[in-house]
């Protein structure tokens, strides 16, 4: 069980990430997003392509410099300029798994060296033997065998490569892992293997995940809490249970109704709810955070809130 009274591991407050495209045009990829992740928790970020979910991941791990907002990780402020010590800790304790395991593994390096690179940079071993042992142990943990250390990425299948990606993140013993669409490129049966592996690792090491994906059914399986993102705004957040049984925001509802169920008779009759921001009359900039119950929050105006809450009984 996750202790929601504890100090959050990651606290993102009013994060804004703008990209200046030209003198007159700025893309507001992430606009005023706040959320918390607790130790040992999995937080799922969902939304369509272009909603800013990957940008949040990259801003949090400081691949980008956030435009505004405050990010606190494990008690230290990691927004703005970081001190050398802070940066060093961040680079060890927060790791990332990328979507395409072929593009994110150096094709000219052996698996062992790819996994060991982080250890080399941070001088995390005292002897060559210790380095080897650490790599072997991590390979076994992700379901590969130690002999794989001397092979190259192209010699592996897609599922195995993603295991290498996980091993590389895990070898630094991180407190938090950002998984950016890490199963989207895999086959269904392989997806299940990787998701199960990530769950096992979490049970063992107690690390937290920020799980970014557009496949809601997989997010439901792995996440404790979910945040729904659209056009750079966090519209609704709550436990998986709360989001799936009582979605309040019309966008969340349309998203949930679009998941095809493997039940042909039901599926052939069912129509997904449509949602169009332009014609819905909703202005995301007007919305403020409303507390539904428990950890369930929705961003909207007061009138919208009253209207939507009445509708939730019908959903």
């Amino acid at each position: 069980m996750i202790n929601y009274d504890a100090e959050p591991l990651l606290d993102v407050q009013n994060l804004k990430q703008y990209f200046k495209v030209s003198k007159t045009f700025t893309v507001k990829a992430v606009d005023d997003v706040s959320f918390k992740i607790y130790p040992g928790e999995t937080y799922g970020l969902v939304g369509e392509s272009g909603s800013g979910k990957s940008t949040i991941g990259r801003s949090v791990i400081r691949l980008y410099d956030p435009t505004a907002g405050k990010i606190t990780f494990d008690g230290m402020d990691i927004s703005g300029r970081m001190s050398k010590d802070t940066e060093k800790r961040l680079r060890q304790e927060m790791q990332m798994i990328f979507q395409d395991p072929m593009a994110s593994l150096n094709p000219r390096k052996k698996i062992g060296d790819i996994i060991g690179e982080g250890l080399d940079i941070h001088h995390a071993y005292s002897s060559e033997k210790e380095r080897g042992d650490k790599i072997k142990a991590i390979l076994e943990k992700v379901g590969l065998s130690p002999e794989h250390a001397t092979r190259y990425p192209h010699q592996f299948s897609g599922g195995q490569r993603q295991r290498v990606g996980i091993a590389r993140a895990l070898v630094m013993d991180p407190k938090m892992i950002i998984a950016d669409e890490c199963i989207s490129a895999l086959d269904v049966s392989i997806q299940a293997q990787v998701v199960n592996l990530m769950k096992d690792i979490q049970d063992e090491t107690g690390c937290a995940y920020l799980f970014i994906a557009h496949d809601l059914s997989m997010v439901k399986y792995i996440s404790d809490r979910i945040g729904v993102l659209h056009l750079g705004h966090l519209l609704e957040t709550g436990t998986t249970e709360e989001i799936f049984t009582k979605p309040v925001h019309p966008y969340t509802r349309s998203l949930l109704s679009a998941i095809p169920a493997p039940n042909p008779i039901v599926e052939k009759q069912r129509k997904a709810l449509t949602y169009d921001y332009k014609t819905s009359g909703i202005d995301y900039n007007q919305g403020t955070s409303h507390h539904v119950d428990g950890t369930h929050y929705v961003s909207c105006t007061d009138e919208e809130y009253d209207k939507w809450i009445k509708e939730t009984d019908k959903f």
């Binding site: 939304g47 369509e48 392509s49 272009g50 299948s157 897609g158 599922g159 086959d187 269904v188 049966s189 392989i190 299940a192 293997q193 998701v195 199960n196 769950k199 557009h214 496949d215 809601l216 059914s217 997989m218 439901k220 399986y221 799936f244 349309s254 998203l255 679009a258 998941i259 095809p260 169920a261 493997p262 039940n263 042909p264 008779i265 039901v266 599926e267 052939k268 009759q269 069912r270 129509k271 997904a272 949602y275």
Partner: protein, 390 residues
């Protein structure tokens, strides 16, 4: 099941069993309009590492207006089969046997005609079949569009090449197609380049191109895998609408069983180059017989339960470079019998439309039921379906 029980399956030799089984050859001929008939297709690829036996006796039949889904993991041969049907196999492919009969109406005379795609030369196929009679929608709309050409021109290209349509007429047709696939401001969009469109819009453009020459058959190779759920729902809706309006046949290649449930009339489950189970959509989803189909259905995340572990099919697909005797799925099959190691199971007939290639269906095999979790899930699905029917 104990080892003793497993042994009873030693007796049937492959020949004997084949005789006992109603093979697909006797599948009743019906008078419905057959558009594509793939028979005993067998393909090997020559590679530097040795021959790869990629397709091992595939039979698929498709009638006019129907949708057939082909489901399977990557490397199971779904795409190779479809490439063969379009006559665009790679140069190192050797067709060992098989027929791909494609029926169409002559453009000028309206006379029906049937050709064997495998016997035609590439040039003829390029000008008579590809794009014109059979069109294909690929997974990634960014790589299947030309980044240096406005989308309007890309839609017009096919019509002008295949039918010598005058430029002005092609332009008007292209504009109408863009409207048909749900793109607003078609006139303006014609001049846009692919990078100016979103992923969902690009896929709409690809569909417009596929439809531009009025094909009889549309092959969709993972058309929505790269898109998110809301866009996916809209694209599927679009393909379904167009299919109904134009009466074309569609083949769907996908590994998403949720999508299949929405679109397909018939399902073919492929594994390691052969079809292991085929049937109507309801037969496959509510009465699956092959252990691999059981695995696929179980691995689908279930939104209605709170199990916190996903079912996985153990192991990984076989390397077709090293062909082994027996059932290719046996090493991953926890219901495997001794005979599975020795002989590849034939297609056993369950109903007129439902076939499965597993020794479990042999009358001499021990009775094995699908996993209880899946059974419970199917019961729940059936109940849900009843409430929809009312």
């Amino acid at each position: 099941m104990s080892d003793e029980e497993k042994k009873i399956e030693e007796t049937p030799a492959a020949e004997e069993a084949k005789a006992a089984v109603v093979s697909e050859e006797t599948e009743p001929e019906d008078d419905r309009d057959i558009i594509l008939d793939i028979k005993d297709l067998d393909i090997t690829f020559k590679t530097s590492a040795g021959p790869v036996h990629a397709i091992r006796g595939v039979n698929i039949r498709l009638h006019r207006g129907e949708t057939v889904a082909i489901v399977g993991e990557s490397g199971s041969g779904k795409s190779v089969t479809m490439k063969a049907a379009m006559g665009i196999l790679a140069k190192n492919a050797i067709v060992n046997s098989g027929k791909i009969r494609f029926s169409y109406k002559h453009l000028e005379t309206g006379e029906p005609d049937t050709v064997d795609i495998l016997k035609q030369d590439k040039k003829w196929i390029r000008s008579h079949i590809n794009g014109r009679r059979i069109a294909m929608v690929f997974q990634d709309p960014m790589t299947s569009l030309d980044p240096t050409m406005p989308i309007g021109k890309q839609i017009m290209e096919g019509m002008m090449w295949h039918y010598n349509t005058p430029k002005e007429e092609a332009y008007n047709k292209a504009k109408k197609l863009l409207e048909e696939v749900g793109i607003e401001d078609a006139e303006k969009r014609m001049k846009n380049y692919p990078h100016q469109l979103s992923g969902g819009m690009r896929q709409r453009v690809v569909i417009a191109i596929a439809l531009s020459c009025d094909p009889d058959l549309l092959i969709c190779d993972e058309p929505t895998t790269a898109l998110d759920v809301t866009i996916q729902a809209r694209i599927i809706e679009l393909i379904r609408r167009i299919q109904k309006e134009r009466g074309i046949s569609v083949i769907y290649i996908t590994h998403d069983l949720g999508v299949v449930a929405k679109v397909a009339d018939y399902v073919n489950v492929m594994y390691a180059g052969r079809i292991v189970e085929k049937g109507t959509i309801n037969e496959i989803y509510y009465d699956p017989r092959h252990p691999y189909t059981w695995g696929l259905l179980s691995a689908m995340p279930d939104l209605d339960t709170d199990d916190d572990r996903l079912y996985t099919i153990p192991g990984s697909p076989p390397n077709l470079l090293h062909e082994k005797p027996g059932d290719a799925f046996a090493p991953r099959n926890r219901y495997a019998l001794v005979v599975d190691e020795k002989a590849d199971p034939p297609m056993f007939k369950i109903t007129d439309t439902h076939y499965a290639a597993t020794w479990l269906l042999d009358p001499r095999a021990p009775k094995v039921e699908m996993p209880p979790e899946l059974k419970a899930r199917i019961e729940r699905m059936k109940k849900e379906a009843e409430s929809v029917d009312d």
